[in-house]
Amino acid sequence: MSKKPEIKTWKDINTGGWIESGTSEHFKTGDWRSKVPIWQEKNCIQCMQCFAFCPDDAIKVTAEGKRTGYDYGFCKGCGICAEECPITAKTIKELQKKGPNVKIDAWDGAKNPEYAEKAAILMVSIKEAKEKHNIK
C-alpha cells in the first residue's frame, strides 16, 4: 500500500503537486452508496467482466484469479458490475421469453423473485443489504 504524503509546509509540496500513485487506497468512498451490489457466488461464471468494468477497486480477486466478494470500502453503488454481468443479460432474456412485456433491468431486478434467484449480481437497497445480507 502507498504511503500517505507528508506535507508540513508549502515547501514540502512536489513541483506541480505530483504524489506517489495509488493514494486512493486511503480514500474510502463506500459511504456514497444509495444501493448495494450483492454477489451470488452460485450463479457466477468467473468471467471477470465486473472486475474489468468496475471504475474503482471494489471487486475482490484472489491471487489465483478467482473473483470473491466486494470491498465495500471502495464501492459507490454505481451498478456497473451488475449491468455488465452476462448473467444479467441472460436472465433478463429468459424472463422476457416467458412474458414479452416484462420490464426488468439490472438496477431494480432484485424486486423480481425469479431474477433475484438467477442473477449473479443483485443491486439491493441499503436496508435490504443490512437486514438480509448483513452488509453495513
Binding site: W10, T15, E20, G22, T23
Partner: protein, 390 residues
Amino acid sequence: MEKTILARTGNEAMAEAMRQINPDVCAAYPITPATEIMQIFSGFVSDGLVKTKLITVESEHSAMSACLGSAAAGARTMTATSSQGLALMHEILFIVSALRLPIVLADVNRALSGPINIHCDHSDTMAERDTGWIQIYAENSQEAYDLLIQAVRIGEHRDVLLPVCVSTDGFIISHGMERLETYPDAEVQKFVGEYKPVYNILDVDNPITVGSLVLTDYYLEHKRAQHEAMKNSLRVMSEVFSEFGKTFGRTYDFCEKYRCDDAEYILVCLSSTAGTAKAAIEELRNQGMKAGLLKIRAFRPFPAEQITNTLKNAKAIAVLDRSESLSTRSGPVATEIKAALYDACVNKPMQTYIYGLGGREIYIEDIKKVFNNLKDAKCGGQVEYLGVKE
C-alpha cells in the same frame, strides 16, 4: 554569429522560432489572426523539417487540454491562439500553471467579443492575467521571434516551471512584414537545450498521480508554491535575457527604456504602440520637450522595481491601456503601475488612457496630444478614452 536577414510577418517570425525550437508536441486549433502560425508550422511538420507531433483538435479547450497531457508526459509542448481561443482555454490555463507545466503559447492579441471584432487589443491576454502564466508582450516581429525562443528557457527553468505566453499585436504585427534577423538552427537548438521534465505520467516504472484533489488542507500551500515560482522567474528571466544577449547579440529586459534618463514626461505602454510612441517622442524632443517611453514587456511577473525606478524621477506619467477592466478607474496596466508606485511611496501626477480597443488606430498625433496634456496633469486624474468619437 551568422545572421540571416529576412522579410517576415509576426506570424511567420513566430512559426520560424517554433521550427527552430522543434518542440515535441503541438496541439492547436486555428483562429484569426493567429491561424497562420500553426498553418505555417504544420507545413514544417508535413515537410519533415521538425520532429513535432502535431495534434489537430476540435477546439481551443481541447488544444490546451492536449497540451497539458503532453507536457505532463514530459514533452516540450507549444501552441498558438488568439482572443476567443485563449478565452476558451481559460479553465485549463489555471491547471497548466498549477501543475507547473512549462507550455509555451504564442498568442496574437485580439479583442474579445462583444461586439464581435477580429482586430487588435489586449483584452484577451489581460483577461488571463491571473492564470499563473508568465506574460510577455512583443513590440515587433524581431521581439516575437527572440522572446519566443527565450520563453522556452524561462518556463523550463527548475526554479520556475511555469507556462509562458508571448504575444504580438493582431494584424499590426502578426500580418505586418518587417525586417527579421534569424539565427542558425543549431545555435537556437543549443540555446534552448534539452527539456528535462521533473515528472512524467507515462513513466510506468515510477507511477505517480498528477492533478489529485487538494481541499482545504493544502490548496493554499499549492498557491504559495506557485507564488514563489513566479517570484523566482524575475531572477531567471534576467539570467536568460543576459545569456541570450551574450549568445545572439540582442539583449532584452523586462522593460525597454527609451530616452527615459533625463525625461520629465514618461509614457508607459505595451507592444506595437511603443513604435509609434518612439516616433512621437523624437518629434517632441526636437520641439524641446523631455519626453520618454517606458515599454513593458513582462506583465507577469510584474517588474515593479524596474518600473518605479524609472518613473520616480518623472514630473508626470501617462499610461496607455489597450484593454478595459471596466472598473470605472484605470485599465489593468495603469492599475498595476499605481500599486507599484504606492508601494514605493511615489506619488506623481498621472493621466491614464484607454485606447486602441478593437483595432482602433493610434497615430503619432494622438501620442503627442497625450504628452502635451501631461504638462497640466494632476494627481488623481481620471481615466480618459483616447481617440474615441465624441
